[in-house]
Structure formats: structure tokens, C-alpha cells
Amino acid sequence: MQLPAKMIHSLFLVNSSGDIFLEKHWKSVVSRSVCDYFFEAQERASEPENVPPVIPTPHHYLISVLRHRIYFVAVIQSEVPPLFVIEFLHRVVDTFQDYFGVCTEAAIKDNVVVVYELLEEMLDNGFPLATESNILKELIKPPTILRTVVNTITGSTNVGEQLPTGQLSVVPWRRTGVKYTNNEAYFDVVEEIDAIIDKSGSTITAEIQGVIDACVKLTGMPDLTLSFMNPRLLDDVSFHPCVRFKRWEAERILSFIPPDGNFRLLSYHVSCQNLVAIPVYVKHNITFREGSSQGRFELTLGPKQTMGKGLEAVLISSQLPRGVLNTNLNPSQGTYNFDPVTKLLSWDVGKINPQKLPSLKGSMSLQAGASKPDENPTINIQFKIQQSALSGLKVNRLDMYGEKYKPFKGIKYMTKAGKFQVRT
């Protein structure tokens, strides 16, 4: 008698052309024909993102995530929290990315041995076992060019010679016996602003999401504390498991023994209740006239409330209505591109010079006889502001305990546009 086994049964990797290029089973083998249900759903969906993440089939359930244009399809047989599986699949992708730099079909195929070894360690009988990158790296060394060469010559392998101790440790996220000649700890405070601006330029909703990514290369078992000048700004936070929660609750200080290498220390949210300064404005005039085959398109960008910092890497994209055949536009700076098939307009503006505001003006030619489109296009904006966190969050100090040496410390701030849309 076969009882329904819980958790993840099998994993299929499907590329954008719909081929299964890798499969792994943790229990008995599930035929790949189960993926046919997935392909059906894929066909029904108009866009790749519209494939439902959970698909029921007569005997199994398929839970999938789409990342880097690869679908990771997990097969499960019975009740399991869907987020459990989704979160795990994302963790797998993160691990691949961490190991191979990119997570593409080619990278996975080139490193198929490591991929198998990783998947074997990450799940035991379908239940997550070792998902911390520090433990995994102890078990299976990431491939590097040098190591590949050495391995070919000497016949040695990339499986660690020593037995991993991380899983036994009280700080499972940190490997033991770390040694560096240069001890350094760098923190990046990156904020993304999400906003919807309406036709008249007023803000409908705006919020700031921030993360603190760390790159810590310190010898031994350092115990760090990081304090903020204005911790009250943080409306909602989520931590890496290494952060001591009670200490944060009581003193608003981040106290932690860091994992070795790169990790995300903290994600936070600054809510829309606080007024968010919008760093950019758009003046637009997009008109279609009934019966005419021409439309006008005018766009001007300018900085606003940027605290003296310049706007960089500005990129405008907009999905024009289907009726637009082509555009004849003239950018005052940067380059623009219109794809007549997908109707996607993109304008790479670059840096904004406040003295000479960038603009994009010209005309659109419309399909003859077609009626005027209902909707004006939405404009998506991307930008970066270096050396400033929009919310005003400031790190006060970073201290290290438990080790004697003096580390190099550094903190960098950056603001980016997240989902920043202007309705016209």
C-alpha cells in the first residue's frame, strides 16, 4: 500500500520553449507526463506570468514558480501549505544563482552534477534539510574556474573533504573556522519607491520598501550590533534568522552573528501614511484625435525633492495602445525605441540635468480607420539616486564584539524606483 507522501515529491525544470530539461525525484519516480497538465495551463495563459502557481491534476498537484524564464515545477501528492513549496523553490533558485552566478538553462546544464548534489542535500524525503547557503557551501564547494581546472587534472572533486559541522552548530547559518586576512563588513541600504501617480500629477499611493544587504567577511565568530539614528522610521521589518528579535523589540538595535559572505540582513517597509517625497515628475501630453490618423506624444521629465542628489539611469517604458502603428519621436537626450509588434516604447534617458530637462516629443501614426483608443498608456519609470536613502534612514554605528581585530566597515545608500507608474 502506498500512502500519500507529504511534501515535495519531484521537481521538473521547464524552459521557455516548453521542454523539460532536468528532473529530480526524492521519492519514487513520477512520470514526466504529469507536466502535460502544466503545459495545458501554459497554453491557456496569455502571458508567461499568468500560469496559475498551483495546478490540480487527478493524482498530483503542481506548484510552480517562474524565474529567469525557467519554470520550476514541483510535484506534490497531498496537502502541504502552498507557500511552503513556493518559498522553497525560490530558495533553490537563489542557491543556484549564488553558486553559478546566473540561473539560466545553460548554467544549470553545465553544472548538472553540482545541481544534483545540491538538490539532494536541500531536501530529504521531500522535506527541506539544509537550505542555508553557508552549510551548503561547506558540503558542496561552488564551482570556480580554477577549481574546475584543478579537478580535471587531479581527478579530485568539488565535494568538501571535511565533514560539515554547520548543521551541528548553534549558529547554523555561519560556517565555522572562517579566516580572512582583510576583515571587512559592508552594508548596502537600498530603498525602492513604489508609487502610482495619477493624471494630474498627484500621488495616489506611494510607499518605500528597503533592504539592507550585507557582505561580511570577518574571521572567527564576530558578534555585530548595528544601530540606527532613526529606527522609528521602520514601520514593518523582517529579519534574517540571525537577528536577535528580543533585542530589536527592546532597544531597536540589530544584534547578530552574521553568516559568512553575502546575505540580506533586513527588509523593511516605510508606510504610505508617512508622506513620501516623490523624486521625479513627468509632464505629459498624449492625445489621440477621433478620426485622425495622427496622435501627439509629448513627455518631459524633471527632478523633484531629490535632496540635492542627481537622478541617474532613468529609463521610461510604456505600453502604447494597439492602434498605434509607429511613432516618430525626437528625444532631447538618450535613445528611444519603439517596437511596432509589441507596441512597447522605451526611452533610455540616462542622467537628468536639472538645467536642461529631457523631453521626448513627436507624433504617433495610428491605424487608419481604427477608433480612438480608450486608454492613454501608463508610463513606467526607473531611476537610481546614489548615496541617499529616500526615507532618510541612517545607520548610526556598527560595533563588533567577540573578536579582537579591527574590521573595515562601510555603508552605502541607494534609492531606486520600484514599481513606479504614472497614469496619463
Binding site: 496559475p52 502557481p53 546544464k109 495602445p321
Partner: protein
């Protein structure tokens, strides 16, 4: 290696290992043949089995690992050969290295060969009592594997699970609960003894284990505790019943401390980076928390919406269900659900659902404005969903019905037919609610029949005209005429509605439409679709009077023109919450295999004492208990704070402890007693046997807020030992253990509301001197209501507190009913900010409000702490000068003698006695509740009743007032 060719992967089913000629440079390669994995082209690699299996003894770890993978995959097919490898694993199980023991067990248990079941069972049993927690964890992982291989082993496996559930390490907890869920989820009784431990360990368990434990505990709590919202739910039900039903006598709800423990210990996990953990906590709160507390999860769920779109999809599904039942919770986050043009359609539709659920009178105008922009979208599926949403808002909120209707009517002139069709369908539903006022809209829609082609929309229009033909008497027959013309080309649902329209017109206006109806019915009679033929025949019999027509035709009008109830537009997520949220079954709205039904709350709570943990009378046991699993103290809510940073320290010490148990014990005993432990977080209690050190302090506690709690624990657990040692040191010491020693009868009660002013309700209060559990910075005030009136008092609660700045009140839960002649006590917390200012508030009943105030005597603003003599002296030395107040006094006659002094001082102020070598001096220590400033009191007695009172306190005002109070207590 050999994977450059995509073709390799075409039909692959397996990983294959094959013997590779050893590389030239590898010297030792003959002995340890080097295996490399490859993907074969659809070729089954099982014929290589013998060659591979012999490599299992190989020393190279990678080879070993790959052989393991291969073994596990093919063992089922090649059982005999697989057995060859078993001895290697059996040897591995005895290896001195715990990692090797663990991995041997892991592979052994993965080999799916029935013959080795007994070997596996033995190995699991042995590993379950292994010294290393990591091996025990692996044993827990192996349990479900063996169970799926041979379910007959269930009973034996349950024994192992029971044993592992008792394990105190975080490493094991997650895995064993996982095994429990797979093997015996129905054996909820196994959890009782481990419940508190699991709650306390939770925060340190790895994230995947947390999800499993939280889901299991949710189910557990549903079987063991009472519904915290039961009074509200009951009220709702009662309202529905007739007034005549006798009002059931309800007990006020008191939450089981274990229930509270679970809620409190899961809350921090809302801050987890793992979406699955956050969702698990959210569903726990949704299913278990009192209504007022569920709100905390909203923020975390909204945060998850920033994550990957798959996560967003699942979270939105759950938010949609929650927002129906607890709308208020997500209202502040309304804007987070606004839709962006770049969202995938499935996300857009879900967000729309949530927005619709959140709509109410106050926010509807903003929501409708948002909807207006959505209607212009290019994504037509989304537009259709928006129109549906507008319809639902219009039905739910009467005020905006006309606005919505007008908006939808404007959409009828939209260029896109799908939009128009969807609008027609929705308008039809809305018009059904109040057709009289909208005949012009019906006229407008009648005109649309010329252009609109979507069958559903045409059918809706025809139905509308038929139903309300009296409002449009001129147009209706004309529409029928046009329809009769095109009848043969219409879709089936339209045809059916044409027949309906004809029948209704025939009944109301037979003069004009008789012929038309006959014509339509004739056409229908020869239709290809038998439904239509059938309908035509039926209707003809019913409405056209013939000699043969039966009794029914008399009622034709009633049948066709009956008043039809307006449709209710409901959310598809309504009532989905009978599935446990966050589960696969909830998402699919269908029961998935292996889904454990979330049980309903019990009517009466099962015996809570099953969760009590027996405590051995040894020092070691005390230590572990204080740290990990709290015993319950009497009926009061045990509030022993978990040691904070247990992430590292506690689990570390745990592990060490289990391994070198006896050794450590002796070491600890040898430790010099006077040392104050630097590790201030853990509440270690050091006891030193009398023989080792006389006359030293007994307790070594820090001054953290958790002191009281830990002392309480200590007090209950090992009272005999404690008293014994007290006796040795200081024979007749009456007041040594604070709070609990003072019997509640001795507490001074004050009047809050007199019987006469309160119209029969009298209220008294006293300072219970118990720590106030929800907030340690508050003073617990016990309030006793007595209803001496003849009628019952209802809904007693606190309102409108007028407080000095900084002061806070934690109100007691509302008392639903206080029957006549009965008495009830509740506890509320007040943070007086270390001042004797009164807290003013209103005490409300269902009819009246009374202004009352509570003013604390200075002695109640502090709580006792334990100190050693040395510490006392040291602290006193630091609080000299302005902070020290000394007063000479003459003791009252009755008050001479140590016993009396101690009693009077501790009655006047909530302080605890500090051991003292001299019998001429009594010392007391405490700290203020809010700021935790030390309060030290010493009374030195001299001859003839003369005495000197010294108070040292950082807060001079407190000190001065305290001197006055104690002075009064000792001299009167």
C-alpha cells in the same frame, strides 16, 4: 562533463553512474574507481547496479554520495543486489562521528526494500536515543520513510515519535513534528506534555520546522481551548433567534494561559523572512486569536505582497478570505491593493476581489474612482472583472447604487462589446433591486439589442424587458417583433429568453402580441435543440387556453410574473475559511488528500492539567524547567519570560547538557557561589548545599524584569527545598518569599464605586501585587464587582480614560453580564509612571457611566526583587547623598520585634526581604514598576523601641513618600 548536448535530456529518467577510465594523473585510481554522474539518453542504468554498488565502501566522499543517490533510485528494482550494500550502512551507524552515523541512517532509510524493514526499525530506534541531536533529527526524518514503506510499523513508530517529541533540542523539534503529522496526526494526546516546550522552542527552530509546528499547534489549540470570540459569536446567533429565547447564563471568557502562550510566542515570527512562516502565523492568529488581536497580522501579510508574484498570488487568496470576515483589519492598507498596469491578470483579479471586500460607506468613493481607471485598461478580462466588482459594491452599499448604475449605463456605449455585455449582465442584476425607478435605463437597453451580439448580454436584456414589460409597454412588443425575425439565428440561451419574453407579453398584453407569440412558439417547436422544443411545448400548454389545458393554466400569470427575489452578489471567497487558511485545500477550495480538518472549538475546555509537566525534585530539573518549559503556577497566568537571546546561548547549553550531563552538574556545584553570573539573560538558579557553604545567598537572580517570574517558578517547584534552606539560615523568617506569601485577605481594599452611587453596583479594588502579565511595566489592580441590585448589569467596561501624560491603562476584558447578587473579579493593569497621580476613567455599564479614579499608595508602585546581602550593600553604597533619606523613629509597642517590623513594612510597600546577618537590622529591596529604579529600605532597631529608617532610591519623590508611609506604618 557530457551535458553540452541538449539531446541527452530528451528522454532522461535517471542519473547514471558509470565506471570511467581513471584519469592519467590519479595515482590511486585503480582502487577507488572514480565515478562520474551522467545523464543517459532514456537508457535505464540499472544494469550497472553491481558495478556501482561495490563502490559504496569507497572512501571518497563524493563517490560515496553519488553511489547513495544511485542506490536509493534503483534499489526497489534490484532488491537482492541492494542488500549487498546494507552491511556498509550498518557499520556506518556505529561510527564514532555523528555526521557519518546520520548520513548512514539517511541513506539506509531511503532504500525502499521491504526486507530491510526490521533493520531500519532497529536503526531508527537506536538513533532516536543517540547522544547527538543531529542523529536524532535524522531518525525523525527516517520515520515517515519507513512508514510509507511499511504502514504496519505504525505502532512502533509512534513509540519512537513519542520519545522524540520529548526531546528538548530545537534541532529535533521540527523534524519530529513533521513525522508526527505524517504518521499519526490524530494522536493529539502525544502533544499535551510537550505543548509548552514546543511553544517555547518555536522561535529557535529552523524555518521549515516552524511552519509544520505552527500548523500542528493550530489544530491542537482548536481541540483544547475555548473560542476566545465565543461571546460575540453567540450574541450574533442569539440575535437571529427570537427575543423570547431565554438568555443563557454566560460565564465571562478567560483565556487559558497556554492559549496565550501560543499566541505570544508565535507573534515575533511574523517578522520572519520566510513567507511560509509568516503565513503560518497569520492563519494561526486568524483561527485562534481574539478578534481584537487579529489585526497584527495585516501588516505582515501586506509586506508579503511585495514578494514574488507566486507568493503574492497565494497571499492574496488568503487575504481575500480574511477580508470578508475581518474587514477592518485590512482597511488601513487599502492602497496597497491598488492595481498596477504591469500586474499579471490573475493578481489583478485577486486584488480587485480584496478591494471589493474592503469597500464600505467611507471609502467607496475612492475605490470607485480607482475602478474608473481600471475600466479603461487594455486587459479586457480584467475590465470584465472590474464591472462585476462595481456591481457588487453597488449591491452591498446602498448609497452608491445610483452612481454605480449611471456609471455602468455609460459603459453601455463603450466600443468594446465585451465591456458592454458584462455591463448589461451586471445592470440586470442591479435593476432587479429597484426596477420602478429605472424604466429609462430599460428603454436604453432595449435599443441595444440592435447592436449587441454577445449572447449572455442579449439574453439578459430580453429577460429584463420581459420581467418589467409593464414599465416599457410600448417598446416591449417591438423588441419581440425584432427578435422573432432573427429567432433562428440566435444562440440557445437567447432563444429561451425570447420564448420567455413572448410568454410574459402574451400574458400582459395579449392583444398586441398574440400572433407574435404563436409565431415564436411555432419556430421553437421545430428547433434543433430539444430544450427549446420542450420549453415551447410547455409554455404553449400553459398560456394558450385550449379545452385540454389543465388546471395549471389558471396560474400562468402567477408562474411567470411572480416577484423574483433580487440576486445576491457574493464573493467567491465567502465561507472559504472553513478550510484552514494557508493550506492547499483552501487555495483550491477543495479538500486535498491528507488534509486534516480544522476542528471546531470545543463547548467546554478539556482538562488543562494534561499539559502540566512533572518536575523532578532535583536542581538540574529546576534549571531546565525554568528555562524551557514553564510549569503553571496556581491559576494565575504564568508569565515567566522566556530567556531572550535563546538563539545561541540556550540551545548551546542544552546540547552540552544532554551530552555531558553528570559531568556538568558536578562542575556547577563546585562553582564559587558568590560569583554573579555575567550571563544576565538566563535565569540560572544556583543552589549550594548547606554543607558546602553556610550562610551565603541562596538565590542568584539578576535584576531583569523576568526575575519575579523565575522566582515564582522556583517557588512552586522546589518550595520544600527552599523552605528548608531558609530555615537553616534564619529560622523563623515569616516574610521571605514575596507576593505569594501575603495572603490575599491581607490586601487592603479600596472603594471605587459605592453601592448607592453605583445604583446597586459596588466596586472595590486592591493591588494584587501579582506581576501584570500583558505588560510587566504595569501595576496589577484587582477589581471586584458586586451586583447588589435586583437586575443584572451588562457590559461592564472601561471607557474614556483621562490620564496624565505617559500613563497607560490596560483595560480588563469587557464583562458581558453580571447577574444580580453575584460577584466577579477582574484584573486591569495601570502604568502609573512611578507617580502617585490618580488614574481617572469611566466605568460603564450598559446604562450608566461612572467617573472613578484609582490612586496608588506609593508602596504599590514597586515590585520586590531578590538581592544578596552583599549586593544590597553595594547598591546602597551607590545611592548615597540626595538619594538617601534617613529618619529616626520610635517603634510602636506592638511593633517591637523583627517579625512585626517585617510584616508592617511589607504591608506598606511591595518589597521583599533581603537576608541579613544581624537580627537588629531588617532590609528590604524592590524596584519601581515603570522605570525599574531600585528601592532599598533598611530598618535598624535599637534599644527601647528606637529605630532608624533608611530609604535609598534614585527617585527622590518616591523615596520621600515611602519614608512617610513606612514611618506611619511602624509608629501607629
Amino acid at each position: 562533463v557530457q551535458n553540452s548536448d541538449v539531446g541527452y535530456f530528451e528522454n532522461c529518467r535517471c542519473v547514471v553512474f558509470y565506471e570511467q577510465p581513471p584519469p592519467a594523473c590519479a595515482v590511486r585510481s585503480q582502487k577507488r574507481s572514480n565515478c562520474e554522474p551522467m545523464i543517459a539518453r532514456g537508457k535505464n542504468a540499472s544494469d550497472l547496479f553491481p558495478a556501482v554498488v561495490k563502490n559504496v565502501a569507497c572512501k571518497n566522499i563524493e563517490v560515496k554520495k553519488l553511489v547513495y543517490v544511485y542506490l536509493v533510485r534503483y534499489a526497489e528494482e534490484q532488491q537482492d543486489l541492494a542488500l549487498l550494500s546494507i552491511s556498509t550502512f550498518q557499520r556506518g551507524l556505529k561510527d564514532p562521528n555523528q555526521l557519518i552515523r546520520a548520513s548512514a541512517l539517511r541513506v539506509l532509510s531511503s532504500i525502499r526494500v521491504t526486507i530491510i524493514v526490521p533493520i531500519m526499525m532497529l536503526a531508527i530506534k537506536e538513533a532516536a536515543s543517540d547522544m547527538s541531536p543531529y542523529v536524532r533529527k535524522t531518525a525523525a526524518h527516517a520515520i515517515p520513510k519507513l512508514y510509507s514503506l511499511d504502514p504496519e510499523q505504525k505502532d512502533c513508530l509512534i513509540e519512537v515519535i513519542e520519545k522524540l517529541l520529548a526531546d528538548k533540542t530545537t534541532l529535533v523539534a521540527g523534524s519530529v513534528v513533521m513525522a508526527f503529522e505524517e504518521v499519526c496526526p490524530e494522536r493529539i494526546d502525544l502533544i499535551h506534555k510537550n505543548y509548552r516546550k514546543l511553544c517555547n522552542l518555536l522561535i529557535d527552530v529552523e524555518e521549515w520546522g516552524q511552519v509544520v509546528i505552527i500548523n500542528m499547534l493550530t489544530r491542537y489549540a482548536r481541540t483544547q481551548f475555548l473560542n476566545p470570540n465565543m461571546n460575540e459569536d453567540k450574541e450574533e446567533k442569539e440575535k437571529k433567534k427570537t427575543e423570547a429565547t431565554a438568555i443563557v447564563k454566560r460565564k465571562p471568557y478567560v483565556m487559558d494561559p497556554d492559549h496565550r502562550l501560543l499566541l505570544r510566542n508565535t507573534k515575533p515570527l511574523l517578522q520572519s523572512r520566510n513567507a511560509a512562516v509568516v503565513m503560518a502565523v497569520a492563519q494561526l492568529y486568524f483561527h485562534l486569536a481574539p478578534k481584537a488581536e487579529v489585526g497584527v497580522i495585516a501588516k505582515a501579510l501586506v509586506r508579503l505582497m511585495r514578494s514574488h508574484s507566486e507568493v503574492q498570488y497565494v497571499v492574496l487568496q488568503n487575504v481575500a478570505t480574511m477580508s470578508i470576515k475581518r474587514r477592518g483589519m485590512f482597511e488601513p492598507y487599502l492602497k496597497s491593493f491598488y492595481i498596477r498596469s504591469t500586474d499579471p491578470t490573475q493578481i489583478k483579479v485577486l486584488k480587485l476581489e480584496v478591494l471589493t471586500n474592503l469597500a464600505n460607506e467611507t471609502n467607496i468613493s475612492t475605490i470607485l474612482r480607482e475602478f474608473q481607471t481600471y475600466i479603461k485598461s487594455n486587459d479586457k478580462d480584467f475590465v470584465a472583472a472590474t464591472i462585476q466588482a462595481i456591481g457588487r459594491c453597488a449591491t452591498n452599499i446602498g448609497e452608491v447604487r445610483d452612481t454605480c448604475l449611471n456609471g455602468l449605463v455609460q459603459l453601455l456605449s463603450n466600443r468594446d462589446e465585451l465591456v458592454v455585455a458584462e455591463s448589461v449582465v451586471v445592470i440586470k442584476k442591479l435593476l432587479q433591486m429597484q426596477p420602478e425607478q429605472h424604466s429609462d435605463i430599460i428603454k436604453h437597453m432595449a435599443k441595444l439589442t440592435d447592436n449587441i451580439q454577445v449572447p449572455m448580454a442579449r439574453a439578459s436584456i430580453l429577460w429584463l424587458i420581459g420581467e418589467y414589460c409593464e414599465h416599457v409597454p410600448k417598446i416591449a412588443p417591438d423588441v419581440l417583433r425584432k427578435m422573432a425575425k432573427t429567432f433562428t439565428n440566435e444562440e440557445d440561451i437567447v432563444k429561451l429568453q425570447i420564448i420567455n419574453l413572448a410568454a410574459k407579453l402574451y400574458l400582459t398584453n395579449s392583444k398586441q402580441t398574440k400572433l407574435l407569440t404563436q409565431y415564436v412558439l411555432n419556430l421553437a417547436k421545430y428547433d434543433q435543440n430539444y430544450d427549446i422544443r420542450d420549453r415551447a411545448r410547455f409554455i404553449r400548454q400553459l398560456i394558450v387556453p385550449t379545452d385540454k389545458s389543465g388546471a395549471l393554466s389558471k396560474y400562468a400569470k402567477k408562474l411567470f410574473l411572480a416577484l423574483k427575489p433580487a440576486p445576491v452578489l457574493e464573493s467567491p471567497f465567502k465561507d472559504r475559511d472553513h478550510f484552514q487558511l494557508g493550506s492547499l485545500s483552501h487555495l483550491l477550495n477543495a479538500k486535498a488528500g491528507g488534509y486534516q480538518v480544522l476542528p471546531d472549538w470545543p463547548e467546554a475546555a478539556p482538562d488543562p492539567s494534561v499539559r502540566n509537566v512533572e518536575v523532578k525534585e532535583s536542581v538540574r530539573a529546576v534549571e531546565t524547567v525554568t528555562k524551557k518549559s514553564k510549569p503553571r503556577i496556581g491559576s494565575s497566568e504564568s508569565e515567566s519570560e522566556e530567556d531572550d537571546d535563546s538563539e545561541s546561548e540556550s540551545s548551546e547549553s542544552e546540547e552540552e547538557e544532554s551530552e555531558e550531563e553528570s559531568e556538568e552538574e558536578t562542575k556547577k556545584k563546585k562553582k564559587v557561589g558568590n560569583e554573579r553570573l555575567e550571563n544576565t539573560r538566563t535565569t540560572d538558579i544556583h543552589t549550594h548545599t548547606h554543607s558546602e557553604r553556610r550562610n551565603t545567598h541562596i538565590l542568584n537572580c539578576d535584576s531583569q524584569p523576568n526575575t519575579i517570574a523565575s522566582v515564582q517558578v522556583f517557588d512552586t517547584i522546589c518550595k520544600p527545598a527552599w523552605l528548608y534552606m531558609q530555615f537553616l539560615l534564619n529560622p523563623p523568617l515569616p516574610v521571605s518569599v514575596p507576593q505569594t506569601i501575603i495572603p490575599s485577605g491581607n490586601l487592603k481594599t479600596y472603594e471605587l464605586l459605592h453601592r448607592i452611587t453605583g445604583e446597586g453596583l459596588s466596586v472595590e479594588y486592591c493591588f494584587s501585587r501579582q506581576p501584570f502579565s500583558p505588560d510587566p511595566h504595569m501595576v496589577a489592580v484587582k477589581i471586584q464587582f458586586t451586583n447588589s441590585a435586583t437586575s443584572e448589569a451588562k457590559s461592564l467596561h472601561v471607557e474614556d480614560a483621562k490620564l496624565q501624560s505617559g500613563m497607560r491603562i490596560k483595560e480588563f476584558p469587557e464583562i458581558e453580564v453580571l447577574p444580580a447578587g453575584e460577584t466577579i473579579s477582574v484584573v486591569m493593569g495601570i502604568d502609573f509612571c512611578d507617580s502617585t497621580q490618580a488614574a481617572n476613567f469611566q466605568l460603564c455599564t450598559h446604562t450608566r457611566k461612572f467617573f472613578v479614579s484609582i490612586q496608588p499608595p506609593v508602596g504599590e508602585l514597586m515590585m520586590p526583587i531578590f538581592m544578596t546581602e552583599n549586593e544590597f550593600k553595594k547598591e546602597q553604597g551607590q545611592l548615597m547623598g540626595m538619594n538617601e533619606i534617613t529618619e529616626k523613629l520610635t517603634l510602636e509597642e506592638k511593633c517591637q520585634g523583627e517579625h512585626a517590623v517585617v510584616q508592617r513594612v511589607t504591608t506598606a510597600a511591595n518589597l521583599s526581604r533581603v537576608p541579613c546577618g544581624s537580627d537588629k537590622e531588617c532590609r528590604f529591596a524592590g524596584k519601581t514598576v515603570t522605570s525599574g529604579s531600585l528601592v532599598l529600605v533598611s530598618v535598624v532597631t535599637k534599644e527601647d523601641g528606637a529605630a532608624q529608617l533608611t530609604v535609598n532610591c534614585e527617585k527622590m519623590v518616591i523615596g520621600t513618600m515611602l519614608v512617610k508611609d513606612i514611618h506611619q506604618a511602624l509608629t501607629q
